[in-house]
């Protein structure tokens, strides 16, 4: 298994613990990643697509061309990136008119979209390529905690294009949590967005969405949140502090990117998975994980 690693913008600059833990988890699970500095911003489905789909599609096509030149499928750690690249790939592969138009633009950059590669998010690579049983084999310290999986939006939707898992009742992250010895719990509004993208235009509503989720996660008995998106991560980790300040409500739920949990279960120490950079303390959870410091 060999992939071109697409880091995106937010993970390597603000949440390097996600990058580090994903690199560790992938290498331990036998997934080789190839680096390139030629990838630019995907570009963001939240910032650029609403402004100009034409520019959005052309820059995405350019990134796809880079991977095509390397002859590698793309593995993205951020659902925003995978969403942009998968949708652009889908449009350009299936819509001749759009492809011709975009290739005309790409002539300026001496590139041509040919449609020879695939793009996957980390969750899909873990679930489909690595496989749950392989992950289970590597577990040294079973997690032993109740975990609320938050899938976020862009890994699953639009399902017509993403074609991954069941969009209404996704199971992939639940399966992986189970393999790690944790107990995935269902909760109300499991499919609700984290509200992060709304933060710029309407901070209060954005936090209200996160608060609704935190409430139902809390009442489900979950002790931590597992997710696969840097935007969701900030919304729940930093967001809990903002919710405490704004609404005077305390949840104290530690938040983990899925690869951090994999590393923890595979025997890494708590310091090594980078929780020192988190706002929410994970100490309570670590006490329950057998063997961890």
């Amino acid at each position: 298994m060999r992939y071109a690693l697409f880091l995106g913008c937010l993970i390597p600059t603000r949440l390097p613990q996600i990058e580090a833990s994903s690199r560790d988890a992938l290498s331990a699970l036998g997934v080789e990643v190839v680096e390139t500095t030629k990838f630019l911003c995907c570009p963001s489905p939240v910032w650029i697509k609403p402004m100009d789909v034409n520019t959005w599609l052309a820059v995405a096509a350019r990134n796809l061309c880079v991977a095509e030149e390397e002859g590698l499928d793309v593995l993205a750690l951020c659902p925003g990136c995978s969403n942009t690249l998968i949708e652009a790939n889908h449009v350009l592969k299936n819509d001749k008119e759009a492809r011709e138009h975009i290739n005309e633009i790409l002539k300026e950059t001496d590139r041509e979209f040919r449609g020879t590669i695939k793009v996957k998010h980390l969750l899909r690579v873990l679930h489909e390529d690595v496989g749950v049983s392989r992950i289970e084999e590597e577990v040294r310290n079973p997690l032993n905690i109740k975990m609320a999986p938050h899938y976020g939006c862009h890994v699953l939707r639009p399902s017509e294009v993403m074609r991954f898992d069941d969009v209404m009742t996704p199971r992939s992250m639940d399966d992986i949590i189970k393999a790690l010895g944790g107990e995935p719990v269902d909760y109300e509004d499991k499919d609700l967005c984290c509200g992060s993208a709304l933060g710029t235009a309407d901070e209060e509503s954005s936090l209200k969405i996160a608060r609704a989720k935190l409430r139902s996660i809390s009442s489900s008995g979950a002790e931590a949140i597992s997710l696969v998106c840097p935007m969701c991560f900030l919304q729940f980790d930093l967001g809990q502090m903002m919710i405490l300040r704004k609404f005077r409500e305390r949840y104290d739920l530690p938040v983990f990117y899925l690869s951090q949990l994999i590393n923890l279960a595979m025997g890494m120490g708590t310091d090594e998975i980078g929780v020192g950079l988190h706002k929410m303390s994970a100490d309570k959870v670590f006490e329950k994980v057998s063997g961890s410091r």
Binding site: P12, I105, P158
Partner: protein, 186 residues
């Protein structure tokens, strides 16, 4: 410049179409304008059931965002009212509307097309223009302040600067660079 296609990806204010004698240009409706943008093609299929608003997290918590009425006004041709509407920018980007729509309107994409038109009128909120400029300048939408110190804490190498000239080249062809000259938002 690439030749103008039937679906006008560059979306100027009105799509121009030659009339029968090939000389006069005709202004088309707002509906046609939305349909001319990638993703907006199916907007006319909306029959106003309102499930988009029912499942919308932004509508549920903000109480002012209503994707159904935005589509209704658009279909009725209220271009000026719609492009000036500040609630356009309250989309949470979750794609739930698209998932539940019984008419398969691709409603998120239609709303995105409408926001594209509003952007063409300079109506995107300021942070959007600011981030687009950062993308053009650096190839990333991120601040590099203190980044390498943070990366060091988890044992990662410093982040390399990116060669972002391709973004500018693309924006020149798509006409996006005009926003930078005009200074962006109103």
């Amino acid at each position: 410049m690439p030749k103008k296609t039937l679906r006008n990806f560059a979306h100027p204010t009105y799509v121009e179409k030659p009339s029968v004698d090939g000389t006069l240009l005709k202004k088309i409706s707002f509906r046609e304008e939305i349909r001319s943008i990638l993703g907006g093609e199916r907007v006319s299929y909306c029959f106003q059931c309102g499930i988009c608003t029912g499942v919308c997290p932004s509508a549920r918590f903000s109480k002012v965002y209503n994707p159904r009425t935005i589509i209704l006004r658009s279909l009725l041709g209220g271009r000026e009212q719609v492009v000036e509407d500040k609630t356009l920018w309250l989309c949470a980007e979750c794609h739930s509307c698209e998932e539940f729509c019984p008419q398969d309107v691709h409603i998120y994409s239609a709303l995105t097309a409408i926001r594209n038109i509003a952007t063409g009128e300079g109506n995107a909120p300021r942070p959007f223009f600011r981030n687009a400029k950062i993308l053009a300048d650096t190839g990333r939408i991120a601040s590099m302040m203190g980044v390498n110190k943070l990366r060091e804490k988890v044992g990662l190498r410093p982040l390399e600067e990116l060669e972002s000239s391709d973004v500018i080249k693309i924006m020149k062809v798509t006409g996006f660079d005009r926003f930078f000259e005009a200074g962006g938002a109103k």
